[in-house]
């Protein structure tokens, strides 16, 4: 009985985790869960705007041409609360972004993880911005 009860509550919590995403955002219409992307590019513009900040990067393709991609990130308030400031991502920084592409096929994506070339996870579990050391960041040794 007790296990059943606890399992039920965990189930409720899982439902709630989905609600987190839709709290200030119609993700499902804006981005396409079946179009994961991984982009390597140089930061050319940052826009720290609530409820979502945007990071623009130049992505150099194999043929030598460049594509401009815009990456949606978290609310500046939340980022600042986790220790991320205006100076944490200088223009010219090369980053690797994983996320999901815009549903309309445009060169926009929501950024799930942003990684520096040395492998530091910038947005997840990074020790560099005061996040808890939970073992997920390889640099947390």
């Amino acid at each position: 009985m007790r296990m059943r009860v606890l399992t039920s509550i965990v189930g409720v919590a899982l439902i709630h985790s989905t609600a987190i995403a839709i709290a200030h955002h119609a993700f499902s219409a804006e981005f396409d869960a079946s179009k994961p992307v991984e982009l390597t590019g140089v930061v050319t513009k940052t826009e720290w705007i609530n409820p979502h900040s945007w990071i623009t990067i130049d992505v150099r393709l194999d043929d030598g041409t460049t594509e401009v991609w815009e990456i949606e990130a978290g609310a500046p308030n939340s980022m600042f609360r986790r220790g991320f400031t205006h100076d944490s991502l200088p223009l010219g920084t090369e980053i690797v972004v994983t996320g999901y592409q815009a549903r309309d096929g445009g060169r926009r994506a929501n950024g799930r993880n942003l990684t520096l070339p040395d492998g530091t996870l910038l947005f997840v579990g990074s020790s560099g911005i005061g996040a808890p050391r939970d073992g997920a960041d390889p640099s947390d040794r």
């Binding site: 039920s8 919590a13 995403a21 955002h25 119609a26 945007w54 549903r103 309309d104 997840v124």
Partner: protein, 353 residues
């Protein structure tokens, strides 16, 4: 201009709090030093925390984040509260789930794509109770009226009509900006504030004749008169409604009606409680229960929707390190139109349909 006004308001509120000597985290030491004869009583007798003009002093910075669902889950129908051991086990599993959300999402799980890293320190705690709802006693919303059921049925049918694909890739399409809630458009955060993804901070400021509830999210400041002025004409409507406040004993009671045409937002509720607020009356009761905690009790009444009023209760926590001082309520300045997001959402919806 809006930014300047918002910044000015924050400064005023902060300055006023300092003037009142009620900066959270410092008050205890100051009060205890001033009242050396009975420091223990000061800490343990919240009813003795009064303003110089004799009102209960509720001022401070709080967070209303909580992990407890508004309705009691069906599986816990006979269980109003958890044991301490159960609560500990549930907190541990919730933490494990959050870490999985951040680091190892399931395919198509867009809930993780927003990177829960940003919000995982604002998830709040589980209460010992199994629901926020305290009345009805079963922890459930009361039965709907015929009209309320018709509104819910129409809402669900409309959602189904705009749904495409199968889980985990099921999507909802939006026909126009009107399908998007006021919160998503950065226009307003509907009352009552139950749960949101982030920025749960709130600040209370008191004067002899007004109380200000300042919310970080949407940067709202509800300025509530405490005198007996008459209610506004029913044709005068506001996003946050029109409020009148009064103190009864140790409790601040705020009654609000005259809501603008918008939909109630159940926040992190299990079932949909999305209903129009035109006829809604909301009564909030704020009361200090210990040095750092307020009880926030809310009664919702709309006899056109529910067969009886219902009440939920949750803590406003005053010792959370994320919300210790007034300056921890950052300016939100939500970009009206949700900068690019609404445009992208509607463009994506055209593709879906």
């Amino acid at each position: 201009m809006r930014n300047l006004l918002a910044a000015g308001l924050s400064l005023l509120l902060s300055a006023a709090l300092v003037a009142c000597g009620r900066m959270d985290g410092e008050t205890t030491a100051v009060d205890a030093a001033d009242d050396a004869s009975s420091p223990a009583e000061r800490v343990n007798a919240p009813s003795e925390q009064m303003t110089p003009w004799g009102h209960p002093d509720l001022q401070g910075v709080y967070t209303f984040a909580t992990n407890t669902p508004i309705e009691r889950p069906d599986a816990l129908a006979d269980m109003a509260s958890f044991t301490p051991a159960e609560l500990e086990a549930l907190e541990a599993s919730a933490l494990a789930r959050r870490r999985a959300d951040v680091h190892d999402p399931a395919p198509g799980q867009l809930g993780s794509s927003y990177n829960a890293f940003w919000t995982e320190n604002e998830t709040g705690q589980l209460l010992a109770r199994t629901s926020l709802i305290t009345d009805p006693e079963n922890g459930k919303l009361p039965p709907l009226t015929v009209n309320g059921q018709a509104i819910l049925d129409a809402w669900l049918a409309d959602r189904a009509d705009r749904s495409y694909g199968e889980p985990p890739f099921a999507q909802i399409a939006y026909r126009s900006w009107f399908d998007l809630p006021a919160y998503e458009r950065c226009v307003a955060r509907p009352m009552p504030r139950i749960w949101q993804a982030y920025n749960h901070g709130a600040q209370i400021l008191q004067t002899p004749d007004h109380v200000v509830l300042h919310y970080e999210s949407m940067h709202d400041a509800r300025i509530i008169a405490l005198d007996d002025r008459p209610p506004l004409h029913e044709d005068v409507r506001f996003w946050n409604g029109s409020s009148r406040g009064r103190f009864e004993g140790d409790t601040l009671i705020i009654e609000t009606a005259n809501y603008a045409n918008q939909w109630m937002d159940g926040g992190r509720s299990g079932p949909p409680i999305q209903f129009p607020m035109d006829n809604m009356k909301i009564t909030e009761r704020l009361r200090r229960v210990d040095e750092y905690t307020l009880s926030y009790e809310v009664t919702v009444e709309d006899t056109t929707i529910w067969t009886r009023p219902w009440t939920f209760e949750m803590p406003w926590v005053g010792d959370d390190p994320n919300y210790e001082f007034p300056e921890h309520l950052y300016e939100f300045a939500c970009h009206e139109g949700n900068f690019r997001a609404i445009e992208d959402t509607l463009r994506g919806s055209y593709g879906l349909r």
